[in-house]
Symmetry: C2
Subunit: 354 residues, 2 copies
């Protein structure tokens, strides 16, 4: 096992001293990059790109060639697990992900097989080991999965949703069926992330994109509880090193204290939360990741720089901050604007680490 | 001016003793009611319904005939002001509101005339005075408007949006243009609500549907500040009675203390906020309105009753709570489920007011 050349990211996850604030961007391998669009066009479709380890590796590395990112993140989709379970993932232009066979009843939930998250997703594991090899120890590799609740919403609605009526109807009217589904998904996600770790992922992040659509009580019952279960099942070490876990609930700012207690090493913040207040609320318990509004990348470079300065200043001195956007980068952003953000973090953050 | 027969709602807005927790529902005159759908079909279109005072009055009164609501709310749309300013509001099936002529540049912002919010919207004012007359003092009448920021998002995007890219681009890159627009909209909303009050509205609510899409800092700069400006411009009394103002920022739970300082008498909460914690945070400064997840109305009546019980219990004893949903009622809800909610409030809330 080669030593990491840049371990700033892992150090920040342990709240150990760093020379500057580490950074990466959610969806950093994405449509805003012309080289990504070219590889995607060669692949023919988004799923063809995801399921080809060489191409997935190529797009994972693309942002690292342009920017001084302190971590790589596996290029994949959050909905691979339901697809592996037989729901038939497909994408339509402008409408987001859809499933051919959304879950309809209790019998279909009962028939779901968690172990398919590993047996049917060898292409993900091959991508992880290839990326890890190709990184050559330059920066650590983040593996990831959607949260059980987030996966459940797509599996029941059949795609994106505004109000999650079907999913909530099941949660409120048939809580046993919903808990059976979430339990199976927690098992699947734990197997999936464990195997990513075995193949070389050095950190894992759970994306809870839709946990914020729940009420405070329902969030604990239907989302947080299952993320906690996953964290308990994960190997906390690989190759003699701890494997940190990052949990990101979009819209979870009000529940920060509870989320910080779930066993994760770091908590992602969207842009609605003041990161200074968040730090005061959680203390040294977890590292905080975030939290620039992705739409800020549509602003001019000077404005972006001012926003980076403000976020760094609000977090303040000391380790325990990973700079990131508060959600995935939006297609249509000018790659030079990303550079302005990266440069600002590199130039302005060292003063907080003396 | 006749005395109100039921002034429970106004008393709760002043934190004065009440016999039970008052209630109403955002969008209570709406598509979930068969009698609404019939009137809407007769009118021919949503805009025809809005702009006909007799029909607007009829649908406003419909939910009061079914349920023991403690307030009526003017039936109208939040986008009447931009329509009056010439942007051409129209509705397409399933896609929500759209504008034929979204704002494109500085010159178009400069040309906007705030006073058209009154001069072009006589049909709204006629509806207000007719509804007030037809209520015969049974319950008070709520007037309303969208917030300047919320109106601005539709005026710039031309309709609904997922990420508000155009609006935020203007806010970040051309803050003077954005502040000019928001200043004009604040003036328009103040004129519009003042005239609703003059015509008989006894309470006004500002719907800030999209304030929660902003970062903590941008919310203060682009949304809250202008709602504060509106409140300062409104007459605080009509017919010798104070006219309370309710502010509702969906997704604003993290900023509750700041919102409670804006001059409003009550603050609306969506379902992500624990109303007990909210009360502890704002104390007796404002009344709290909310906060059941509208999707809970898809649950069975017993589950709805348990949720009502939980919200009442979390708020606890004493006045200062107006029961409501955390957002507008969803079309497709069974009217009997609304009755279960109403009955639960009536039966379970008196114990908190002894």
């Amino acid at each position: 096992m080669t030593e990491l050349i840049n371990d700033r990211f892992l150090r920040a996850l342990r709240r150990e001293p760093v020379d500057r604030t580490p950074l990466w961007m959610m969806r950093q391998a994405g449509r805003y990059l012309p080289e990504y669009r070219a590889t995607r066009a060669d692949a023919g479709s988004f799923m063809a790109l995801c399921s080809n380890p060489e191409l997935a590796c190529e797009v994972t590395l693309q942002p690292l060639r342009r920017y001084a990112m302190d971590a790589a993140i596996l290029f994949s989709d959050i909905l691979t697990i339901p697809d592996a379970m037989g729901l038939g993932l497909y994408f339509t232009e402008g409408e987001g992900p859809k499933f051919e066979r959304p879950l309809k009843n209790h019998a279909e939930i009962k028939a779901l097989e968690p172990q398919r998250a590993v047996s049917e997703l060898r292409y993900v594991m091959d991508a992880v080991s290839l990326i890890r090899r190709e990184l050559k120890g330059s920066v650590p590799l983040i593996g990831f999965s959607g949260s059980p609740w987030t996966l459940a919403t797509y599996m029941i609605e059949g795609g994106s949703s505004k109000d999650f009526a079907k999913t909530k109807r099941m949660a409120f009217n048939e809580p046993e069926a919903m808990h059976m589904l979430l339990g199976k998904l927690a098992e699947a996600v734990a197997l999936y992330l464990s195997e990513q770790i075995a193949q070389g992922a050095q950190i894992v992040q759970i994306f809870d994109t839709w946990g914020g659509a729940l009420s405070h009580g329902a969030y604990r019952e239907f989302s947080l509880r299952y993320m906690q279960e996953i964290i308990q099942r994960l190997p906390r070490e690989a190759d003699g090193r701890p494997v940190p876990v990052i949990v990101f609930t979009k819209g979870g700012g009000q529940w920060l204290e509870t989320i910080a207690d779930c066993g994760a090493d770091a908590v992602g913040l969207d842009w609605t939360t003041d990161i200074g207040e968040a730090r005061a609320r959680v203390g040294d318990k977890v590292t905080l990741q975030g939290n620039m509004d992705p739409a800020m990348l549509f602003a001019q470079p000077e404005r972006i720089r001012a926003e980076v300065a403000s976020i760094l200043e609000r977090f303040g001195s000391g380790s325990g901050h990973i700079f990131n956007l508060g959600h995935g980068i939006t297609p249509g952003v000018d790659p030079d604007h990303v550079l302005a953000m990266v440069d600002a973090v590199i130039e302005l953050s060292p003063q907080y680490h003396r």
